[in-house]
């Protein structure tokens, strides 16, 4: 082993350790900021020493190409990553993740076209082919997920017999993959067809899935990209890729399950059934009169309450009302001595934890933010609850109405608070299309209007008291 081989191997080892320690530290709010930096140092180290990798039989021109590619990809990603709004984070994660999947597939293609993948036995060849398939699906699927969340693809197209078409494309892809493995030299035409088929499969698999389920899908593709990277790591004999990819594959799979559980959906249900398609007839909604009040009245009762729990939903973020809300909350805390807490449903926002990020952006300290289990015990002893732009996650039908499509989903028991105020744009239903009995409750008052405007009015109301 010469000097550079040793340096490269040692650096990959250090990078793998830094990734694991970094990810571990990202698991706690106190150490999270240091965690990403540790992982970042590992990445820079691994990338720089790779320029001296023994398998780089590259001339000057090739090094220029490598550095140019890094500059283009890295520069573009840096620009878009710095520019994106916090509300747009989930689709950016989807986009960058898709790029990783595409890169894994590209490695597989180079190794298959150059026959390098055929020289290390059948296991390596199988891993190369499977990695290409997973990477390709993750690439095209993530791009569709990005386009949907970005609002570039509003229509969810479901072809008649979608399941049959998907199964057909999946079968074709697998057959082509087996062909490559069995052929022992992989004709370029077959490899190309196989790759195109995997891309098409990713598109068809993701396209019928509705926007509400996208976070689970993005998380799933994140895990799949990890796996594809690990498989291509085996093909290249690169331990840093194997370890980092496998760790992400396992962590991402678990994260996907946690998200799906929080939404009361199974992974297969997300992938193979569209929300609302197989529900048949809409469940009978609760009827009655919504009682609406002005923001000023709501502000007055919050000021005289001892305790207030705020339940923010995605509507808050869409209206960009987080900052105004936090101003109002600070006034309540300082001038009226109200004990204010935020209760966050696991799927509030577009991804688990997304709402926490949006509140943090507005300056809300994370020790005021509680999750579902912590808060549900407190609602019965709370003077007032304020629901902003959330709907399905506070719908009591999930507890009581077995015919409801959201039955069984864990919800925040807002209806048990003494008084409930709901800020809402209009009288429509939530994502699931289910009417919400909470809005008709005896102790519920509706404040209709744009969340940002209402939060401003609430703050002005406090000043007038």
């Amino acid at each position: 082993m010469n000097f550079w081989e040793f340096t490269v191997d040692a650096s990959y080892f250090i990078a793998a350790v830094l990734f694991i320690v970094g990810l571990k530290r990202m698991g706690s709010p106190k150490t999270a900021k240091a965690g990403i930096k540790w992982a970042g140092i590992g990445m820079v180290l691994a990338t720089v020493v790779t320029l001296w990798h023994p398998e780089m039989d590259a001339g000057f021109f090739r090094y220029i190409l490598i550095l140019l590619a890094i500059a283009i990809g890295g520069g573009g990603a840096y620009y878009t990553g710095m520019k994106v709004q916090m509300t747009g984070m989930p689709q950016m994660v989807a986009l960058y993740n898709g790029m990783g999947g595409g890169a894994a597939a590209a490695i597989a293609l180079v190794e298959l076209y150059s026959h390098a993948a055929f020289q290390h036995g059948t296991t390596v060849l199988i891993l190369a082919v499977v990695g290409a398939l997973i990477g390709g699906v993750s690439f095209s699927g993530s791009l569709i997920a990005w386009a949907k969340l970005e609002g570039k693809m509003n229509k969810t197209i479901r072809l008649p017999g979608q399941h049959l078409i998907n199964a057909g494309i999946a079968l074709l892809t697998v057959v082509l993959g087996i062909w490559i493995i069995a052929s022992s030299d992989g004709a370029p035409v077959v490899v190309t067809l196989f790759f195109i088929a995997s891309l098409v499969f990713g598109v068809f698999l993701t396209n019928p899935i509705g926007g509400a389920d996208m976070p689970v899908v993005i998380s799933l593709y994140n895990a799949l990209t990890g796996l594809a990277v690990a498989f291509e790591g085996f093909v290249l004999g690169n331990p840093a890729m194997i370890i980092a990819g496998t760790v992400v594959g396992a962590a991402g799979s678990l994260l996907t399950l946690l998200m799906a559980n929080a939404m009361n959906r199974s992974i297969s249900n997300v992938l193979f059934a569209g929300f609302g398609v197989d529900d048949g007839a809409q469940a009978e909604g609760p009827e009655g009169e919504m009682k609406s009040v002005e923001a000023f009245d709501a502000a007055a009762s919050f000021a005289y309450a001892d305790s207030l729990i705020i339940v923010p939903g995605y509507g808050l973020a869409v209206a960009q009302a987080q900052h105004k809300l936090w101003e109002f909350v600070q006034m309540l805390q300082k001038e009226h001595d109200v004990d204010v807490k935020f209760a966050i449903h696991p799927v509030a926002g577009r991804m688990p934890g997304h709402m926490n990020v949006l509140l943090a952006e507005a300056g809300v300290p994370y020790d005021l933010i509680y999750d579902l289990e912590e808060m549900n015990a407190e609602f019965p002893n709370t003077d007032a609850a304020l629901v902003i732009g959330a709907n399905d996650v506070v719908n009591p039908a999930a507890r009581t109405d077995e015919s409801s499509p959201i039955y069984g989903m864990p919800i925040l028991d807002v209806d048990k608070a003494r008084e409930v105020y709901v800020i809402k744009r209009g009288k429509g239903t939530g994502f699931s299309g289910v009417q919400n009995g909470l809005f008709f409750g005896d102790n519920t008052r509706m404040v209709f209007g744009d969340a940002k405007q209402v939060c401003t009015d609430l703050a002005n109301g406090l000043k007038q008291l």
């Binding site: 990959y12 990734f19 990810l23 990202m26 698991g27 999270a32 990403i36 992982a39 970042g40 990445m43 691994a46 990338t47 990798h53 490598i66 590619a69 890094i70 500059a71 990809g73 890295g74 520069g75 573009g76 990603a77 990553g81 710095m82 984070m89 989930p90 950016m92 994660v93 986009l95 993740n97 790029m99 595409g102 890169a103 590209a106 490695i107 076209y113 150059s114 290390h120 390596v124 998380s219 994140n222 990277v229 290249l236 331990p239 194997i242 370890i243 760790v247 992400v248 396992a250 962590a251 991402g252 678990l254 994260l255 929080a262 991804m351 688990p352 934890g353 926490n356 943090a360 999750d371």
Partner: protein
Amino acid sequence: MITGFVALYIFMLAAFTGYEIIGRVPAILHTPLMSGSNFVHGIVLVGAMVALGHADGFWETLIGFIGTILAAGNAVGGYVVTERMLEMFKTSKD
């Protein structure tokens, strides 16, 4: 080349590590953590660089080039958005 049972052991241990890392994480950090793990598989960049480094002919080189662009986007973009998200977490004591 890492093959046979050694490869299987590495795979198994790394999978357990990933599982344990996520196991007891509060929901508040799920989005940053997904973004952080998205950054970590940006290590695919080193593979893409090697693939581009030993690619032969126009098409292989082109695919390697595109792969390296995509991988660099994954790594840099993943880092930037994760750090931006984590920058925002503060306690009321800060």
